[in-house]
C-alpha cells in the first residue's frame, strides 16, 4: 500500500474523514484485503492508546498513568471524603494526558489499559457455531428486588448495565433524567 493509503486508513481510525474522503476510504477497505488487515492493526493501536484491551497487559500502563497522575496537579474537592478510597479529582485533561503518555511509550512496551469487571477465567477453546447450544443462558426471572435487572447472574446484569448506559444516550422523552436509571442501579437492596 502507498503512504497515502496508509494515511487514509489512519485518518479513518481517528475519525477524521468526512464526505468523499470517507467514502473513498470505505470503498478502499471493501475492495482490499490488505487494507482491512492494516485497518485492524491501526484500530488495535488506537484501542491501546485509548485504553481498550485485555486485562493481561494492563498493569504496566496503569502504573505509568498512575505515576504520571501523581505528578499532575489535582483539584481539591470541597466536600469531605466519605469513601474509604482516597479522594482525588480527575484533571480535565486526564484523557489527553493518558493518551499522550501512551503515545510516548514504545509500542513494544505498550500495555493495554482495559480492565475487566467480568471474570475472564472461563475462557474456552475458539468459539464455533455450536455456541448457540453450548453457551449457558440466563433464564427469565421476574422478581424485581430493588432497582436492578431481574436476572440471576451478576455477569448478565453487568452486560445489561453496559448496554443501558449506551442506550440512555438515546433515551427519548425522559431526556435530562435518563441517567438516573444508571445512578440508581441496585438501590433499594
Amino acid at each position: 500500500m502507498t503512504v497515502n493509503q496508509n494515511e487514509l486508513l489512519s485518518a479513518l481510525v481517528d475519525g477524521e474523514l468526512q464526505g468523499q474522503e470517507l467514502d473513498r476510504a470505505l470503498k478502499f477497505l471493501e475492495s482490499n484485503e490488505q487494507a482491512r488487515v492494516q485497518f485492524q492493526q491501526y484500530q488495535f493501536s488506537s484501542d491501546v492508546l485509548h485504553g481498550s484491551a485485555h486485562e493481561n497487559n494492563r498493569v504496566d500502563l496503569i502504573d505509568r498513568i498512575s505515576s504520571a497522575l501523581d505528578d499532575e496537579p489535582t483539584y481539591q474537592i470541597d466536600q469531605a471524603p466519605k469513601q474509604k478510597a482516597q479522594v482525588i479529582a480527575f484533571p480535565k485533561q486526564f484523557w489527553k494526558q493518558a493518551a499522550g503518555l501512551a503515545m510516548a511509550a514504545s509500542i513494544g512496551a505498550l500495555a493495554v489499559v482495559g480492565v475487566i469487571s467480568q471474570p475472564q477465567n472461563q475462557l474456552v477453546p475458539p468459539m464455533v457455531a455450536a455456541v448457540d447450544v453450548e453457551a449457558p443462558v440466563q433464564t427469565m426471572s421476574i422478581a424485581a428486588k430493588g432497582n436492578r435487572w431481574t436476572v440471576e447472574e451478576a455477569e448478565v446484569a453487568d452486560r445489561l448495565n453496559t448496554y443501558l448506559v449506551d442506550h440512555n444516550e438515546y433515551a427519548g422523552a425522559s431526556g435530562v433524567f435518563s441517567y438516573a436509571r444508571v445512578v440508581s442501579y441496585d438501590a433499594g437492596q
Binding site: L12, G15, E16, L17, Q18, L26, R36, F39, Q40, Q43, H50, G51, S52, A53, H54, I62, I77, Q83, A85, Q86, V87, I88, A89, F90, G114, I116, S117, Q122, V131, D132, A135, P136, V137, Q138, M140, I142, G146, N147, W149, T150, V156, R159, L160, N161, T162, L164, V165, D166, H167, A171, G172, A173, V176, F177, A180, R181, V182, V183, S184, A187
Partner: protein
C-alpha cells in the same frame, strides 16, 4: 392505475388521520424543552421513583462554548455518579469499586437526534397540553402524550413555563399505571457552575476501570451496509436513527449498537460476538420501566433494550437474524479476531 389510485387514497387517509393527533402548541413546547435541556445551566435535586424504589439524585448541568458537561450523583446509599462530557460518559460505582468509561460515538456531544425527530412521532402519539401545575416551586405546563398502540408507552411531562426545562416526567403504561417518575424537588437555573461541581468526589484509585470505545467514526449511512444483521420487525414508525460499533475493553469484543426510534420512544439492539464462555440473558428482563430481551444467534449475544413494553423488545429480538444465514460465519468483518 387503479393501484396508484388506491395507494394515493390510502396515503391521504393515513395523513389525514395522523395530522390531528399532535396539538401544534404542545409540539412547540416539546421542541423548546429539548433545546432547553441542552442549553441551560442548572443544578437541582430530583426524585426517581420506579415501583417501590425512590431515589434522590443531584444533577448539575453546564452548557457553554466548550459544549455540555453533566454530573449526576445518587444521594441515597452508595454515592454513584455519572459524568457526561462531550466525548465521554463515566459511570462510577463506589460499592463495587468499578468505573465504566464509554467514549461517545463520534465524540461530538450529547445526542439530540430524537428531539430533532419529534415531528416523526406525531402519527404515533396523541400530544396535547394538560393543566398548568407546580413542580419544584415553579409553574409548569403539563403535556399528555398517548401512544396509538400497545408497543410503546405514554408520557406525562411537566415543562417549566419560564425556561422550558423538563421538571417532571412520568412514563405511563397502557393501563394507566405510572411505571417511572422523575421529578425535580429543587432546581436552580442560570447559575454559574464552577468546575469543582463537575468533578467526581470518588477516587479513581483502587477502582476497576472498564472501558468501551467507538471502533471508528464513520457515518451511519455507510455503516448500514456493513451490518450482517437484519431486524425484520419493528413497531410502526420506528426507524434506524443511530448505529455504532464499540470495542469492549473487558474482552476486546466488538459490540454493534443499532438504535431505533419513533421520535419519542427508542430501543437499542446490541449484537456482541461471544468471545468466551459466558452466560447471557435468554428471554426477558426488566429494570424499572426499561425492558430487555436477550438471545444467542450465530455465536453472538443479541440483546434488545428500551423503555418500551416487554412484548416490544421480545418481538424485535425474535425478528433479528444474520443476513448471510451461514452458521459460524456471521461475524462482523470489522476487525474482530476469533479467539
Amino acid at each position: 392505475m387503479r393501484f396508484l389510485l388506491h395507494l394515493g387514497l390510502a396515503l391521504s387517509l393515513s395523513l389525514a388521520g395522523t395530522s390531528s393527533f399532535a396539538e401544534p402548541d404542545a409540539m412547540k413546547v416539546l421542541e423548546r424543552m429539548g433545546a432547553a435541556a441542552k442549553q441551560l445551566n442548572y443544578e437541582g435535586v430530583f426524585a426517581y421513583q420506579t415501583g417501590q424504589n425512590l431515589q434522590s439524585i443531584r444533577i448539575i448541568h453546564r452548557s457553554d462554548g466548550q459544549g455540555e458537561v453533566e454530573r449526576l450523583i445518587s444521594l441515597n446509599g452508595a454515592a454513584r455518579e455519572v459524568i457526561r462530557t462531550n466525548d465521554l460518559v463515566t459511570c462510577i460505582f463506589p460499592e463495587g469499586k468499578r468505573v465504566h468509561v464509554n467514549r461517545r460515538p463520534l465524540g461530538r456531544g450529547f445526542p439530540s437526534d430524537l428531539l430533532r425527530r419529534l415531528s416523526s412521532a406525531t402519527p404515533y402519539y396523541e400530544v396535547v397540553s394538560g393543566q398548568q401545575g407546580r413542580v419544584a416551586d415553579r409553574i409548569a405546563q403539563e403535556l399528555v402524550i398517548k401512544p396509538i398502540d400497545s408497543y410503546r408507552y405514554g408520557f406525562r411531562l411537566w415543562v417549566d413555563k419560564d425556561s422550558d426545562l423538563l421538571l417532571k416526567s412520568e412514563l405511563v403504561a397502557g393501563d394507566g399505571n405510572v411505571l417511572e417518575t422523575f421529578a425535580f424537588s429543587t432546581v436552580e437555573l442560570d447559575k454559574i457552575i464552577p468546575d469543582s461541581l463537575l468533578q467526581p468526589q470518588i477516587s479513581g484509585k483502587e477502582m476497576t476501570w472498564n472501558r468501551t470505545e467507538p471502533e471508528s467514526a464513520v457515518n451511519m449511512a455507510a455503516k448500514k451496509n456493513w451490518s450482517r444483521w437484519q431486524v425484520a420487525w419493528l413497531p410502526e414508525g420506528f426507524s434506524l436513527v443511530a448505529q455504532q460499533n464499540r470495542l469492549k475493553a473487558a474482552n476486546g469484543a466488538a459490540v454493534e449498537q443499532r438504535v431505533y426510534s419513533d421520535g419519542l420512544s427508542s430501543v437499542s439492539v446490541f449484537i456482541e460476538k461471544i468471545r468466551a464462555r459466558h452466560s447471557h440473558l435468554h428471554g426477558g428482563s426488566k429494570m424499572g420501566a426499561v425492558n430487555a430481551f436477550g438471545t444467542i444467534l450465530s455465536a453472538h449475544f443479541v440483546t434488545v433494550v428500551g423503555e418500551v413494553p416487554a412484548k416490544t423488545v421480545e418481538k424485535i429480538g425474535a425478528s433479528i437474524s444474520p443476513t448471510d444465514e451461514k452458521p459460524g460465519q456471521a461475524a462482523l468483518w470489522d476487525g474482530e479476531k476469533d479467539d
